[in-house]
Subunit: 165 residues, 2 copies
């Protein structure tokens, strides 16, 4: 199974793709999609959508995983992030990928065992879990890989539960 994890951001959206045989995870690729700050909102959304479509076309993931919730005291930030999540979720749905969502707590817990872990801890655990020599950068990319790994763990857990029923 090939899993695409996406970490949505208005300026930088991270993506991370891993392969799994059900036990181990292997890095396929990670990176970032950037929108041009000087461009109008609609154009920036088109750039972000285009970037995700390219990743999906090239790497052909089987599923897409996103963070489900966003905590913010700032309505304007939430609205902006919502725009990016909108086109990102749409790009996955458009490609007929099953979409899974995990809370930040679930993602951090799955990767570090601690729901309030810092980005640096998440990045280091992603490096260890994927047996990489150097940590994936920037945080947008390592966070996206963490979402993908969370989906792998969650699927494995669900299968294990199903096997005991």
């Amino acid at each position: 199974m090939r899993v695409l994890g996406i970490d949505c951001g208005y300026r930088i959206t991270g993506y991370g793709v891993v392969d799994t045989n059900g036990a181990d995870c292997l890095l396929v690729r990670c990176g970032t999609i950037r929108s041009k700050p000087s461009d109008a909102l609609a154009l920036r959304l088109r750039q972000i959508h285009g970037g995700i479509v390219d990743v999906i076309r090239e790497l052909e993931p089987d599923v897409a995983a996103f963070e489900s919730l966003f905590y913010s005291n700032n309505v304007q930030s939430a609205l902006k992030l919502g725009h990016v999540r909108g086109v990102s979720l749409f790009a996955a749905a458009e490609a007929n990928l099953p979409v899974f969502e995990y809370s930040p707590l679930e993602v951090k817990s799955a990767v570090t065992g601690y729901g309030r872990a810092e980005k640096l801890q998440v990045q280091q655990m992603v490096r260890a879990l994927l047996k990489l020599e150097i940590a994936p950068e920037p945080f947008d990319a390592s966070d996206a890989l963490a979402v993908a790994i969370c989906h792998v763990h969650s699927s494995r857990f669900n299968r294990a539960i199903a096997a005991t029923l």
Copy 2:
């Protein structure tokens, strides 16, 4: 010039298309795009995007106009609305339509002369300005027409200013 106005909403997104010769506005069509509440978010966004794409393909507007700001004390509502605005703005950008945004104050002022007008007043003024026998319904559709009319007024105003320079 043919103007598409869009009033984004998570459950119901209104659209309104008007033709203008620079002086009068003529209704082409208005209506709503609904997403299925029982479906997952990504699928609902696909339905909304698909609805807007259909309207653009069929009615071939020259420009798209949106409300620029959303006032809310609720971060979750802002985030949800952001998703819908994201795919809606993207649908317009994807069709290479120039995108214009107007604040709710500008839209209400353009149509009723009063920035804090109620939806019913906006609906009645839209009916009068488009010389319709019955008011366009529901509010989602009349609000979308108001955004389109606001763009027509704004373009006319800008042309008038340019002519005096």
